[in-house]
């Protein structure tokens, strides 16, 4: 006897992510979820991003790691609240972890919440954290075919950031091919190449965040009316 259930496998995570999304809307928080392979430069991107803000900015960071709090220590010197989520072996962040750490950190909007996921291109793509956008990082020391190997995350990400562009003269990496591959998977994906070492491309990245914030605020205003 077959009984139809029709339910999302991750319905509990989706429910919690929905609550987070509502909180972000009510408190005017822009949340972005940074996802990449280990070593693609998520933490370096965040360091330079935090360094570009003034104390007048309201910014917080949640950073995921399987085992250590090294990233939080790296990021804590910029005057903004940073909290490490040690997942204890779990290869991704989920909405419950974000909810708990956000509560414990006591961050309230309006402001920007930067979430650095665990270094992994597979599992984080399945878990909604209530973010306004998933952002995937690809570094020039990886292969141009990463988008083809991991289509799930490149399909779900709004933006692909190509990192470590200062190394381009030293590696055989073709940015056009990487972008072409990403757009095969996700034709609308946006693209920003940058270097966290030299700062090249950061103006574009910060403008992108700003534009997203405006878009989210307008959407929230429309909902509230």
């Amino acid at each position: 006897m077959r009984e139809i259930v029709e339910k999302k496998v991750l319905s509990e995570n989706d429910r919690l992510a929905g609550e987070l999304r509502q909180r972000y809307r009510e408190q005017n928080i822009l949340c972005v979820n940074l996802i990449s392979s280990p070593g693609s430069g998520k933490t370096a991107l965040l360091e330079r991003t935090l360094a570009s803000f003034t104390p007048a900015h309201s910014v917080a960071v949640l950073t995921g790691d399987i085992q250590t709090d090294n990233d939080a220590r790296r990021l804590s010197g910029y005057g903004f609240p940073v909290r490490q989520i040690v997942t204890g072996g779990t290869c991704h962040l989920d909405a419950r972890m974000v909810n708990r750490h956000l509560n414990e950190m006591g961050f309230r909007g309006p402001g920007l919440l930067l979430v650095e996921n665990v270094g992994n291109l597979v599992c984080p793509s399945s878990y909604d954290l209530g973010e306004a956008a998933k952002i995937v990082l690809l570094s020039v020391t990886e292969g141009e075919d990463k988008p083809l190997k991991y289509p799930g995350i490149f399909y779900r990400a709004s933006l692909m950031i190509l990192t470590k562009t200062d190394l381009l003269p030293h590696v055989e990496f073709n940015p056009e091919l990487a972008l072409e591959n990403a757009r095969k998977v996700h034709p609308e994906i946006e693209y920003i190449p940058l270097s966290s070492r030299t700062g090249e491309g950061f103006d574009k990245w910060l403008r992108w965040l700003n534009a997203l914030q405006h878009k989210v605020q307008q959407a929230a205003a429309a909902i509230n009316f």
Partner: protein
């Protein structure tokens, strides 16, 4: 390797559904998984077996319907499955289409034992 988490979520859902139907024996759970969900079949089977071993759900079967990525052409509304990341419309050749399938991660049905007639 998030298949353990996925298998665990499937079993949580089964347990909740079983609780709503006291006395019902569950034979199988049917799920729908899209190719963009990044689930590996062997890893999911392994996780499911490991998590049900020596539990009341030990004999529960996992039945998976694997779903390809599906697109709908913006120009001519043709719906097509994607092979080798070829996103051009097979009917009109247009390059713009929207994704309408392939991200599924759903529990679809439970196969229950026939209830015994009450004496």
């Amino acid at each position: 390797m998030h298949e353990i988490g996925i298998a665990s979520s499937i079993l949580d859902c089964v347990a909740a559904e079983v609780q709503r139907r006291p006395g019902a024996g569950v034979i199988a759970v049917g799920v729908r998984i899209g190719e963009l969900s990044n689930i590996d079949k062997d890893a999911l089977d392994f996780a499911f077996e490991a998590l049900t071993r020596d539990t009341p759900l030990e004999h529960l079967k996992l039945e998976v319907e694997w779903c390809p990525r599906r697109q709908r052409c913006i120009a001519c509304a043709e719906e097509f499955s994607v092979h080798d990341l070829e996103l051009a419309c097979p009917r009109c050749g247009a390059n713009h289409s929207t994704c309408i399938g392939g991200t599924e991660l759903d529990i679809v049905y439970l196969e229950l034992e026939e209830p015994c007639a009450k004496s």
